[in-house]
């Protein structure tokens, strides 16, 4: 495996993850869509990069590649935390809206929020 090639692939994936992190911080639906596309591209490139690197000299225990991989993993886990925050935020709000709109179900869970086809009556 070619250590330099692998390091370059890992660094490229890390650069993509930086964009993902930026998008997750923005947290708008459009930014989240972009994040998914960027992460998918990072996956594909990294898989291809590893396959190509296997044809080169041995990269096992390559210190630079290992450091680049650890850096990438840190960014991935940071992205995961931010993604979970977005999810928690929206599901929490959804539950709150559900409680306000429909109260609680018999099992104590919040009633589902009627997200579509609402009829608004004014009197």
């Amino acid at each position: 495996m070619n250590g330099a090639m692998l390091t370059a692939q890992l660094s490229a994936a890390t650069a993509r993850m930086e964009l993902v992190l930026s998008g997750l911080k923005d947290a708008s639906p459009a930014a989240l869509d972009d994040c998914a596309n960027l992460t998918e591209m990072a996956c594909q490139e990294l898989i291809g990069g590893i396959a190509a690197a296997r044809t080169g000299p041995d990269a096992d225990r390559d210190a630079e590649a290992l450091e680049a991989a650890l850096e990438l993993r840190a960014r991935i886990r940071q992205a995961r935390r931010l993604l979970e925050n977005v999810y928690r935020f929206h599901t929490g709000w959804n539950r709150l809206l559900g409680v306000r709109a429909g109260g609680y179900l018999p099992d104590g869970q919040a009633a589902p929020f009627p997200g579509a086809g609402r009829l608004c009556l004014r009197g």
């Binding site: 993850m17 997750l24 911080k25 923005d26 992460t39 898989i47 590893i50 977005v86 959804n94 997200g115």
Partner: protein
């Protein structure tokens, strides 16, 4: 509609729109106020029915804040974690500086120098210079332990002061909120600048502690620390306090250092539940991290344990040896060795701070001779050799015991330093994540203000789909990266 009625409607509408304009101007005027929430003016339709004289038009509805408590709580929840991460980085950075792992100074260097002195002495067991070098380097090691313990105690003292300061800050902020509650309860419920002041104070509070702020029907805020301990209800403040608590008389180490305790106004110990924010981080440093080195009522502390185990190992070797052979044929017995190190034997948590070279030992009292046994003959430098082998132990009797694991004393010390290094790495990672998380929550708050329920429902659907896609790809990417790491360094934890 008659002319007068028409004029009346027009006048009412103008009055209403005038107030709308005031609200808009208020928003502009307060645009630079921290935490100011945009105010919206609701215009409510009046009934229009010519048969009973209702003339229609609009009138002012209640001024409503666009800020949702949920949005603020989401930001504050992340700020609690940010405060905790920031404090952890600050405290652990100070702690890490106590442990030099480069081998250039401190315990690590002193240990290496003493091993070298043992080795030189083993080469020339009767050489007075080599003997003196052992005493000099043993003394330097003892001082290094004392200095490390003193530095840790200084950090412990600073941490206690910071806890006290944080508790004071929390009580002061709650005091400010108490004042705002009084204003609100006196009828000042639609004051945008007061609203901003309340929010700003709550945001500051979230750096220190984990709390919930529940707005009551009268507009006042009820503040509960850790979700259950009242700090503010209506205009009544409940102060928390800091108390250092020493070990009980029946504790394993009754003379051990005190731990930090946070007590509610009713005298209830709420330390265990106080894990978030700056205060939570400080309590963790004071009650978990520092005691793991310096001890408390329940544990000796690993620095003390290392000091005692090393001193005992050296002393046991020296006292098992002989300073001189004596003259058995003339009835003169061999002169047994004497201990090199002394320490406070009455308090296990004071060993590192009290470690010293015996004030009575002289260079020529170092016992180098390993006496003959039933199966082995006397070795003139056997003890000195055994001491030099502590650098690269040959068996478990030359090693220390750290939580059941046998390690060389150098590795033992390395583990202590690595522990704080690992904690600091984690804290730095947490800090990076939390800085992003707070920015993210602030963005979410900004984006969500003014979004109506229908927009919100559509947003939820979009976010749900994006979450699923992102989650899937992140999992795949994490798996690939972890495989690469494992391939290059199987010892790395996933």
């Amino acid at each position: 509609m008659n002319l007068l009625a028409g004029l009346s409607v027009t006048a009412g509408a103008l009055n209403a729109y005038d107030q709308v304009l005031e609200v808009v101007q208020n928003n502009v005027a307060n645009s630079s106020t921290p935490d100011y929430a945009e105010q919206t003016q609701n215009l409510e339709p009046l009934p229009f029915d010519v048969t009973d004289g209702a003339v229609g038009g609009v009138e002012l509805g209640e001024v409503s804040s666009a800020r949702d408590q949920y949005l603020n709580q989401a930001v504050r929840s992340q700020t609690v974690l940010l405060g905790q991460a920031q404090q952890n980085v600050t405290s652990l950075t100070a702690l890490q500086s106590v442990f030099d792992v480069t081998g250039q100074s401190g315990i690590s260097a002193a240990l290496n120098n003493l091993y070298s002195a043992f080795s030189a002495w083993a080469q020339s067991p009767t050489d007075s210079t080599a003997q003196q070098s052992v005493l000099t380097n043993a003394s330097a090691l003892a001082q290094a332990f004392q200095q490390t313990a003193a530095n840790l105690q200084t950090i412990s003292g600073n941490t206690a002061s910071q806890i006290q300061d944080t508790v004071t800050d929390v009580n002061n902020l709650i005091g400010q909120l108490q004042g705002y509650n009084q204003q609100i309860m006196n009828g000042n419920t639609h004051d945008a600048s007061l609203d901003a002041q309340v929010d700003s104070t709550l945001d500051q509070l979230s750096q220190y502690i984990d709390f919930s702020a529940i707005q009551q029907s009268d507009g006042s805020y009820e503040i509960l620390m850790n979700g259950q301990t009242p700090l503010l209800i209506e205009d009544q403040q409940y102060q928390i306090s800091y108390q250092p608590v020493g070990p009980s008389a029946t504790a394993a180490y009754p003379s051990g250092p005190p731990t930090a305790s946070i007590v509610s106004s009713s005298g209830v110990d709420i330390t265990a539940g106080t894990t978030g924010g700056q205060l939570g981080a400080l309590l963790n440093i004071a009650n978990t991290v520092l005691p793991s080195y310096l001890g408390d009522g329940n544990q000796q502390g690993d620095l003390n344990s290392l000091a005692q185990q090393f001193a005992d190992t050296v002393n046991n070797l020296l006292t098992s040896g002989n300073i001189s052979d004596g003259d058995p044929s003339n009835g003169v017995p061999a002169t047994p060795g004497v201990p090199l190190f002394t320490y406070d034997t009455t308090n296990g948590t004071n060993v590192a701070a009290s470690l010293a070279v015996s004030s009575t030992i002289t260079p020529d009292q170092l016992a180098a001779i390993q006496p003959a046994t039933d199966t082995t003959s006397e070795v003139s430098n056997g003890i000195a050799l055994a001491l030099s082998q502590l650098a690269t132990p040959q068996n478990s009797s030359q090693e220390g015991d750290l939580d059941g694991a046998s390690l060389s004393f150098s590795s033992f010390y390395g583990e202590l330093a690595a522990r704080v290094g690992g904690l600091l790495d984690t804290a730095n990672n947490d800090l990076t994540v939390q800085q992003s998380a707070v920015a993210q929550a602030q963005n979410q708050r900004q984006q969500s203000e003014g979004v109506n329920l229908d927009q919100q429902a559509a947003l939820l659907l979009q976010v749900q789909q994006a979450y699923d896609a992102n989650s899937k790809f992140l999992s795949v990417l994490d798996e690939i990266t972890s495989d690469v790491i494992q391939m290059m360094d199987p010892s790395t934890t996933t």
